[in-house]
């Protein structure tokens, strides 16, 4: 038993962290919050591609470095910590694993090398009507053509390809690859809560949909579980950064003759943030291992990681605003960046309520 990272994994954290620290700053995030014409930080994306970081979860034969879920988790935390504004999560936590696990050779060759090299932006369109697949799906595929609406879709406005959840003729859920630049696709930009991560509505009216064989309801659920674990690492990174920013401010800002961090009402809240983050981290560690080793407790691990990460992230974001006082309420200050990214990561895979139910159902005792 070993519940820590290896030296190689620590080295990945350090190298990725350095690259991200140099290229993804909070100032940069503010700029993209105000104006985001390309939809993401293109410079950073190219640098990550050049450094091979986009292929970390993709097998070597398809242009990646074929590392495991734990390595991907290490990178995810760094991305969350630096608030990197890139179309990473959907591509790496959902699309790539779906294609690796269920794609044909042709589908893999067409897509995976392009993801690893950063040439193609891909996204996953799993949300509809406020719900998420496989629980909520109304889009339909018939005769290889898809009809339906998916919204909100992260990076839906500029992605080249989307992995779309839809029902087949018999009403069974499945996953399909759809070329968003082709016919039968309409995209509409939405007002994203986190404008550094733009959202779109995709309307499909007879667009060609290329099925991933075997990606049934259970497979979709498993993919979403895996994604929840990796997103939990982003949330932990994000909440940890909020705590760091709050701690720095609490040491600097003075009131009544001393730093506000000397007052227990502030310092105890910082300690609570810390405890929530570390609790989530412990669950996320178990999740990363369960994902990497395809353990039978994956569903339970994912729900535990997700629930504690959601809690840590929301608490850290909200208290970061409070600890900053008036400046925390301003657009130009950093605190709302954490809150906005927090809601983005929450909405991506659905709120705590659905994960609580998933957890109860995943427990052996919970299946009454």
């Amino acid at each position: 038993m070993d519940f820590g990272f290896s030296e190689d994994q620590d080295a990945i954290r350090e190298a990725a962290g350095r690259l991200l620290d140099e290229n993804a700053t909070l100032v940069g995030a503010h700029l993209l919050l105000n104006e985001n014409p390309d939809g993401f930080d293109g410079d950073l994306w190219s640098k990550l591609a050049e450094g091979g970081w986009l292929g970390i979860g993709i097998p070597e034969e398809y242009g990646g470095s074929g590392m495991g879920a734990v390595e991907l988790a290490v990178l995810a935390e760094e991305i969350g910590r630096t608030l990197a504004c890139i179309p990473f999560a959907q591509a790496m936590y959902l699309v790539a694993p779906a294609v690796v696990q269920h794609g044909s050779d042709a589908q893999k060759s067409a897509l995976l090398p392009a993801i690893a090299s950063g040439k193609k932006i891909v996204t996953a369109a799993l949300s509809e009507n406020g719900g998420i697949a496989p629980g909520v799906i109304t889009a339909k595929v018939s005769g290889g053509l898809i009809q339906g609406v998916k919204s909100p879709v992260p990076d839906g406005g500029n992605a080249d390809v989307a992995l779309v959840a839809a029902l087949d003729d018999t009403g069974q859920p499945g996953l399909y690859l759809v070329d968003l630049t082709g016919p039968g696709v309409e995209r509409e930009a939405l007002d994203a809560t986190d404008r550094t991560r733009p959202m779109a509505r995709l309307t499909f009216d007879g667009a060609p949909a290329d099925a991933l064989t075997g990606a049934n309801g259970a497979a979709i659920k498993k993919l979403v579980d895996g994604a929840a674990i990796l997103v939990a690492f982003e949330q932990i990174g994000l909440a940890g950064r909020a705590l760091a920013v709050s701690s720095d401010y609490a040491k600097e800002r003075k009131a009544f003759g001393r730093p506000i961090g000397g007052f227990q009402a502030i310092k105890h809240r910082l300690a609570d943030m810390f405890a929530k983050i570390e609790l989530a981290r412990s669950n996320a560690f178990f999740g990363a291992w369960a994902l990497a080793s395809d353990d039978a407790r994956l569903a339970e691990a994912a729900a535990c990681a997700r629930l504690t990460a959601l809690d840590a992230c929301q608490y850290a974001g909200e208290e970061t605003i409070q600890i900053h006082g008036g400046i925390g309420i301003t657009w130009i200050a950093d605190p709302h960046l954490f809150v906005r990214r927090g809601w983005h990561l929450k909405a991506l895979l659905g709120p705590a309520a659905i994960w609580r139910e998933r957890l109860i159902q995943a427990l052996p005792e919970g299946n009454s």
């Binding site: 038993m1 070993d2 519940f3 820590g4 990272f5 290896s6 994994q9 734990v70 705590l243 701690s247 609490a250 040491k251 001393r258 730093p259 961090g261 000397g262 227990q264 502030i266 310092k267 105890h268 910082l270 300690a271 609570d272 810390f274 405890a275 570390e278 609790l279 989530a280 981290r281 412990s282 669950n283 560690f285 178990f286 990363a288 291992w289 369960a290 990497a292 080793s293 353990d295 339970e300 729900a303 535990c304 629930l307 504690t308 309520a353 994960w355 609580r356 139910e357 957890l359 109860i360 427990l363 005792e365 919970g366 009454s368």
Partner: protein
């Protein structure tokens, strides 16, 4: 990262299991809870001593202890394996915790060679139960306020004063006692640590009834107790350093050993299946499911946190940031969970039905959980520790820091 046993750990687990199978009885599957220690039941103390001795004879009592002190010289992970396995059996409560987990490690760091050789092996073998005589009426969170006075006369010390909240003092044979030896210097600098004989007539322990109805802690009166200087631990006036070692081990024990202690969420599910709420089994109620799910996620997080601590120890590192949160989160979780269980019982929560072990159990859990939030450093003190030592916040204002103790 690997949550599976290595092959060596699997072998070790098999050996542990085989021994436990031969020497103890498995628990009833869903009832994973440790029996709570009702100290007014002297039989439990006897059983605990027997079990400790049995473990020591077979070599399991001090898995991570060095061999020279009767330990196994094993790894922290082997300790995790042992704890997991022992937790599956009906065994007496761990009455020897203070000795094995607090006093032992303290003596290993601060004891003389003779103290280590004389005391440590017997301590593991359950030769006596130890208690921790630190807190006093005027010294709890602010432990450096101890007033119990030790005065030196040649090679003998004479100790007089009062301790309080001393767990197990009424059935302990030995105690580790923190006393004031120099009131002319600031409070942290004038204390010394001693080993005392609890059977000495100069010590009187009076059990205090707790909110759970149990009597597990005491007030302890010490009147002219003579202690040889050979039983001093650490330097004269250096008691604070010794106490810090004990307290660090206490925090760690309360984070690791008991992180999986208390009631399990599986038991809560079990309860929710049996009781009715709004005309249907409570387990079908959305709010009930949601609460249990949140408790489960927190409980799993604490379990994995304790494994992270053990990993740090295995790698020869000080337990890092993860070492401080278990103690803070566990008491609150136990309190909320048991409170929710009582709520599920509806109007039955107002009574404890002696024919229904369940109702007694949850009430007992609810009435013992608050102690978890106070003992070993209250929640507020844990938050200060995290904020000041880990996050670097300015320390609280301490008006008495540089003032000689006698002028406070």
């Amino acid at each position: 990262m690997d949550f599976n046993d290595t092959s060596a750990e699997a072998d070790f687990r098999a050996k542990v299991r085989a021994w436990l199978d031969d020497n103890a009885t498995l628990r009833d599957g869903s009832k994973t809870t440790q029996d709570t220690f009702m100290a007014h039941n002297p039989d439990q103390v006897v059983q605990a001593g027997k079990w400790q001795k049995q473990k020591a004879d077979a070599g399991w009592a001090g898995i991570t202890w060095p061999k020279e002190y009767g330990g196994m010289g094993g790894t922290p992970m082997q300790q995790v394996v042992w704890n997991q396995e022992e937790g599956r059996y009906r065994v007496p409560p761990f009455a020897h915790l203070v000795g094995v987990a607090l006093v032992g490690p303290t003596l290993m760091v601060h004891g003389t060679e003779k103290q280590k050789a004389d005391i440590l092996p017997g301590l593991l073998a359950g030769d006596g139960i130890w208690c921790q005589l630190f807190s006093e009426p005027a010294a709890g969170s602010d432990l450096a306020g101890v007033r119990t006075r030790a005065k030196r006369d040649g090679d003998t010390w004479e100790i007089t004063g009062q301790k309080v909240w001393t767990s197990g003092a009424h059935y302990s044979q030995h105690g580790l006692l923190l006393a004031r030896t120099n009131p002319d210097v600031p409070k942290h600098k004038g204390m010394t640590m001693f080993i005392v004989d609890m059977n000495d007539p100069a010590i009187e322990a009076r059990p205090i009834t707790q909110i759970s109805g149990a009597e597990s802690f005491n007030e302890v009166f010490i009147d002219g107790l003579k202690v040889s200087d050979a039983n001093r631990v650490g330097e004269v006036d250096g008691g604070w350093r010794v106490a810090l070692t004990t307290l660090m081990n206490e925090r760690l024990t309360l984070s690791v050993g008991r992180a999986v202690g208390g009631a399990k969420t599986e038991e809560l599910i079990d309860l929710a299946k049996r009781v009715q709420l709004n005309g249907r089994p409570a387990i079908e109620d959305g709010e009930v499911r949601a609460r249990i799910a949140d408790f489960t996620a927190r409980q799993r997080g604490l379990e994995f946190t304790s494994y992270r601590i053990m990993t740090s120890l295995s790698r020869g590192q000080e337990p890092g940031v993860e070492g401080s949160i278990g103690k803070l989160l566990l008491g609150r979780l136990r309190q909320e969970m048991s409170g929710f269980a009582l709520e599920l019982m509806g109007s039955s929560a107002a009574i404890a039905d002696t024919s229904d072990a369940e109702s007694l159990r949850w009430r007992n859990e609810y009435m013992t959980a608050p102690g978890n939030r106070v003992s070993g450093g209250a929640d507020e003190i844990q938050r200060n520790i995290i904020a000041e030592r880990i996050l670097g916040m300015p320390v609280d204002i301490r008006v008495d820091k540089d003032v000689p103790f006698r002028d406070l």
